[in-house]
Symmetry: C2
Subunit: 139 residues, 2 copies
């Protein structure tokens, strides 16, 4: 979830059973790659496999692209990628909750599909629908 | 954001400039009321006003319904309401981040509209679209 706008900061929960958890703790950095609906079948495969056993890029046909601020690669197929460094681990042991600083944000203007998917559990996803704009004083 | 399934736990960020922040710190409990798209104009008004100055229930035509585990009321017009107690404040001073235990969850089966809205900033909201189901081993 969003924590702060400027400088941009997010919080995320990563199950301690996941390889990502060990990797995030060891390297203290990660890319948050944001897939659109067309990638949903690959997203499920990413979630149903572990980096402990396979190279997900090679096995699932994803392309690693170079980051500039961290060592972890971007996922070329995603329309947005956030380069992040761990800012705070005070809630990791108890809640698996990492506070991340977003150091660089990428978006690929050539990718027209930008509808994201929200996992509701058991393979069920809600896809982004219409965008509405209401008069508001809120940023 | 979701923190844990069982027992259910969520994390939420509340701006320290908001009346809700002071109320949450003082009472250590809250209701997370989940509005559907038909309430969007009222949602914006709720966000653009402060409980410091007005009674939002009275002013915005919302109905307070009794909770069972906490003192704060449910919002009758919302299709779902979560009764929560603050579980941990360790990240409040630095990140305005509260860890909440969800003690009771309500849903109103008579309310057919269940599309939620996601604020992207400046009054722009993405509305839930289609639901898709893919074969997955993930809960």
């Amino acid at each position: 979830m969003m924590v702060e706008f400027e400088p941009p900061q997010v919080a995320c929960i990563v199950s301690s059973a996941n390889h990502s958890f060990a990797a995030l703790r060891a390297t203290r950095e990660c890319v948050i790659a944001i897939p659109s609906i067309d990638l949903a079948p690959i997203v499920v495969k990413v979630g149903n496999t572990s980096g402990r056993n396979i190279d997900k890029f090679a096995t699932l046909g994803l392309t690693a692209a170079p980051s500039t601020r961290i060592a972890a690669p971007l996922v070329e197929e995603c329309f947005a990628n956030l380069e992040c460094k761990v800012a705070d681990t005070r809630s990791v042991n108890k809640y698996n909750l990492f506070i991340l600083n977003v150091l660089k944000a990428w978006t690929d203007p050539a990718k027209r599909e930008r509808k994201t998917i929200h996992h509701c559990g058991y393979g069920r996803f809600v896809v982004d629908g219409a965008t509405i704009t209401l008069k508001s004083r809120m940023r």
